[in-house]
Amino acid sequence: MGDGQRMERRRAVANDRVARYERMVEIRAFEDRVQGLFAQGLVHGTTHTAQGQEAVAVGIAAAARPTDLVTCTYRGHGIGLALGMTPEVILGEIMGREIGCVGGIAGSMHLCDRELGLLPTFAIIGAGIPVAAGAALTAQVRGTDDAAIGVFGDGAANIGAFHEGLNLAAIWNLPVVFICENNQYGEYSRIDLTTPIEDLADRAASYGIPGIIVDGQDPDQTVEAVGAALAVARSGGGPTLLEMKTYRYAGHSRADKAEYRPEGEFERWYERDPINTFRARLESEGLLAAGAAEEIEQKVAARLEAALRAVEESPPATVDAMFGNIYASA
């Protein structure tokens, strides 16, 4: 799929709330499909899906420019789709095909799209945090008004790179927005087993920067919060830490059924499902007519099946790809 389509997808999310809704539906369907493919044994390796966190993804994509570089984690399909990547380049990567965004040699944890501003996603916890600060340094040194966004999980807030990255960004007043996707779990451990405080946003005080709690289930609020923090960053106001409270519907990775979750927890969060509540809002605002939601779902499903066919038609990554791009030449 050409550049044009990807940029178009990005613009849609940036400009149109209904398009955001559609993208959230796409992310949910995509992740469900990926889980299914793994369950069928059709994919090698592991994967980390982001059902339930769709509002965070579209919030970032809607508020950021393609020239604002984003770092994110192995749980990156949703953010990739939100930023405008097509289902086929992500699925292709997950399935190890040439059509994949990295040619199929990297796998689910490693997505990348330079034009859309997505740096290679990070499979080492915390690593993307200072890297985002580094991208912000480029904007600051060059005097552009671009900013950078570093996305990471609640578990990552306990690792050294978090502390060092936020401290550096603060002391240099860098144009970067740190977004903690607090989905309540790091792997199989609830946050309260690993983190002695309630709100990770409070850690911003250690660096003298604003720390703001955001309802990560509401795409209007996530767009708003990211947009405001980016505006601060662009105008020289320095970094912000946004803690987006959200919930991971699936297990941590392919093999995890999330049986450790306390009873009723999932259900409580599902009451505020970001897609359902957003649909209701759009409907009540008259932006989604009766039947429109079903149409969107069908459209998304068809799009996904087309993507899957394109991926299946694409050859597996080649031995040449394995030897390419080790060293760049001048």
Partner: protein
């Protein structure tokens, strides 16, 4: 003898050490409640309780540092690093602190900690979760390092590692966790550190391997009728069994190393350089290192398998070595790439 998977053998070794020594404690990410991401500590929390079996936050530097302090003050901590790459955020604690603690205390403190880390390719985890990285720890006097090759090796070497008064890094090939084998447990099942193990007798060539490659070397050796290969599981990478390996190679006159890691500067490099110099004039062929190419580990079933030495390739390389008396090019050179 009990038949078990390698991950069960790891858990059994941990449990037996914990039973015998109340100072043994286990911690790492998701090792307690979940029994370990690879189920290598299953059942420990239930048997030994939350004081001795603990889940940590994601903070490798922090919990390896705790292991150093706990070891110096009398415990025998066993810390799990889920994937060896994560040592990249905490290597200081292993190499620069633990490895020098005894030296820096003029012998007053010891640092009997064990760092277990899963390694290797084959499961489709991509290039940041599939390496072996043994040479991060191989140039650091004061450390020991072992590599497991199956259930018995896991049980026996891990118990020795925990008992050793020095910091020991235990490399556990992830792809072997699910493999089953007969295991002698108890005192008889303990394998000493520092000794290589001959797993097959042979005349024409000595094949030294470790970890997941032992099986590959063995399969290669068994597949040829033209020559017979002695196969050695190095077991302890640091300090390695120089005398054992040298005397084995002296017998056959030929050394082949089979490694699951890139060509440049893997563990086998030291074996090759040392033996090559010590047996100069006695070797009947150059030392052959059969390795992966110098590239990041690729994702994708076929590519990943291609990346690693496999039995057919090993046999073929040895065939060529014996036929020509020269080291054959690795497969990727045939495809126009750098050796």
């Amino acid at each position: 003898m009990v038949r078990m998977r390698m991950n069960q053998a790891v858990a059994a070794a941990l449990a037996d050490e914990m039973r015998e020594d109340p100072d043994v404690v286990v911690f790492g990410e998701d090792v307690a409640v979940a029994g370990g991401p690879f189920k290598t500590s299953d059942g420990l929390l239930e048997e030994f309780g939350p004081s001795r079996v603990r889940d940590t936050p994601i903070s490798e530097m922090g919990f390896l540092g705790m292991a150093v302090g706990a070891a110096a003050s009398g415990l025998r901590p066993v810390a799990e690093i889920m994937f060896i790459e994560f040592l990249g955020v905490a290597l200081d604690m292993v190499v620069t602190e633990a490895g020098k603690f005894h030296f820096l205390s003029r012998g007053a403190f010891t640092c009997p900690m064990t760092v277990r880390a899963s390694i290797g390719a084959g499961l489709g985890f991509g290039c940041q979760h599939s390496q072996t990285m043994e040479n991060w720890m191989s140039h650091a006097p004061g450390l020991k390092m072992v590599m497991l090759s199956g259930p018995q090796s896991a049980y026996g070497l891990l118990r020795s590692a925990i008992r050793d008064p020095n910091p020991v890094v235990v490399l556990e090939p992830r792809a072997l966790y699910g493999g089953r084998g007969q295991v002698t447990t108890g005192a008889d099942g303990i394998l000493p550190l520092g000794e290589a193990r001959r797993v097959r007798e042979g005349e024409a060539v000595t094949v030294v391997s470790a970890g997941a490659m032992v099986k590959v070397a063995l399969a290669a050796a068994e597949s040829s009728d033209d020559w017979s290969a002695e196969v050695i599981d190095l077991q302890t990478l640091i300090p390695w069994d120089r005398d054992g390996v040298v005397s084995a190679v002296r017998r056959t006159g030929r050394l082949v190393i089979v490694e699951e890691s890139p060509y440049t500067s893997g563990w086998g490099t030291e074996i090759a350089a040392h033996v090559g110099a010590r047996l100069f004039g006695e070797l009947r062929a150059p030392v052959l290192r059969i390795t992966c190419p110098d590239v990041p580990v690729p994702f994708g079933r076929e590519l990943e398998q291609r990346y690693m030495p496999n039995p057919g390739y090993v046999t073929d390389q040895i065939d060529q070595l014996l036929a020509t008396g020269r080291t054959p090019d690795p497969w990727w050179v045939g495809e126009g790439r750098r050796a």
